[in-house]
Amino acid sequence: MAILSACAALPFVIHSNYAMRVIIYIGLYIVLALGLNVVMGFTGLLNIGHAAFYATGAYTTAILMTSWGLSFWWTLPIGMALGGLLGMAIGFPTLRLRDDYLAMVTLGFGQIVYIVANNWMGLTRGPRGIPGIPEPRIGFAHWQVAIDSYTSYYYLILFFVLVTIYACIRVRDSRVGLAWMAIREDEDVAAVMGINLGFYKTLAFAFSAVLGALAGSFFAVFQSFVSPNSFTILESVIIVTIPILGGLGSLPGTIVGAVLMIGLPEVFRAASEYRMVAVGAFMVLMMVFKPEGLFGKKLFQQTYKA
């Protein structure tokens, strides 16, 4: 509750647009990372192509709002539905694959979406991107408020973050979450215990993709411009590091991970050329000293450490 009121009061304390922008990005990455956490943390499947779902949401909103003139609130569910379908599409062929092989396929999948966005000139305008995405509006007819200031975007992403956290908690604590975690622990035994591996793995990918697309839709209106450059493999890698840093499967861990991963590089702007070096070194140190992540539970595997 205290954290919630602190979050609600934030725009009144921070007046710098730059700081607000960073904070909004942190919120965006929280949604992305929580979505990925469903696949990686709960179900235990490595996905290095999450930016594909992010791109799906962003392009759906961008195209539907600029060419079709649809309202943001219509493009949002459409983008999420398309993201979910794409999630199923990737989930399905990967059912026969495990571990490293699965990672390679998701990596390739992320690249495919990037390349499509870069080359399908008719739909995405390729590398030129789609500019001029209008701001979302709330209300009816004459009583409309445009979401155009940093403060209003902040509240919008705060709302999305809260919805995402709520959805993750509900699903994690349900029978579905239990089935996911059983698959993560031992999928052969999970199958014997009556869990339909194909169904639940596909469901995890779809749910994760829906959240990724949600973040993408927000990104499109916030930036008012989308181009393939925002959805490169580096993007996927950054999203992957967040739940790992925070502790796989842990919701608070993922949130703190996003704050650190997106916030820290901005704090150390001065040394920006060494950012990726610092991130790499930091990840190595984490793996050595706290492999379960900042908030992760002490895991079974560690009991056998020599």
Binding site: R170, D173, S174, V189, V192, M193, F300, T303
Partner: protein, 256 residues
């Protein structure tokens, strides 16, 4: 119709024939011991029966189900009433003891992702039911599992992990339960407790198929014993009959 009918079950791993035309009939809810030297195909039989390993040939029928069980997918089998434990202990290590048991009842619950997301009343009710049922099943082992219910499974002792696997197998309300060396690593007192537990489970009408190397355990527990060697059933009968049968002695000790 018998509770479980297995006809000429065959499974080859490359050149090795793990099951070679294995036949078995379990007429009702008895406690059936399966013995045999290492590599005689006992665990492979359990693996094939629960769909973890695809059989090459054969038929398996459960009472009340017309189809050949071997045609079913792995996750469908538990719902038909066959559940198991594992020889090499495979609890879900990073889940709590209670969660482990709750997973076992997956096939008896229905909540989907949407009712969970919207917190529909059915989902809440089912969750309470599931929790109660898991706790009830854990109570079969007295306080041993209940006192640890929120600890992750990997923190349990060896014997408790065996109990946990059994609770996880029982919570779905099976008609047949397959126990793969349920007392390996237990001391004599714990072994005796396990015998009492298995007998009380059997009294509720659940058939128990148990693989065990400890002959004392088999003698005290099983009403009927099947001896296997090279993937075939060599002898079937009461414990003394099987134990003293020349072919069983030969399988364990070899011929002079």
């Amino acid at each position: 119709m018998a509770l479980l009918t297995v006809k000429s079950l065959t499974k080859r791993f490359g050149g090795l024939t793990a099951l070679d035309g294995f036949d078995l009939e379990v007429p009702g809810s008895e406690i059936l011991g399966i013995i045999g030297p290492n590599g005689s195909g006992k665990t492979t039989f359990f693996n094939v029966l629960t769909g973890m390993v695809q059989a090459d040939l054969g038929e398996v029928y459960v009472e009340g189900v017309k189809e050949n069980l071997l045609m079913k997918r792995t996750h469908e089998i538990i719902a038909l009433g066959i559940s198991r434990t594992f020889q090499n202990q495979r609890p879900f290590n990073n889940l709590s003891v209670l969660e482990n048991v709750m997973v076992g009842a997956h096939c008896r619950t229905r909540t989907g992702i949407f009712s969970a997301l919207l917190s529909l009343p059915g989902a809440g009710k089912e969750r309470i039911w599931l929790r109660e049922r898991a706790l009830e099943t854990m109570a079969l082992f007295g306080d041993r599992l209940l006192s640890m219910k929120d600890n992750p499974a990997w923190t349990l002792s060896y014997a408790n992990r065996r109990r946990l696997e059994m609770a996880r197998a029982l919570v779905s309300g099976p008609r047949i339960i397959l126990l793969d060396e349920p007392t390996a690593g237990m001391n004599p007192a714990e072994s005796q407790q396990m015998i009492d537990t298995i007998k009380s489970v059997n009294r509720t009408g659940i058939a128990v198929l148990v693989i065990e190397h400890d002959m004392n355990f088999v003698r005290r527990l099983c009403q009927r014993v099947v001896a296997m060697d090279y993937g075939q059933k060599i002898v079937e009968g009461t414990f003394p009959e099987v134990r003293n049968h020349p072919r069983v002695i030969e399988a364990y000790l070899g011929k002079d």
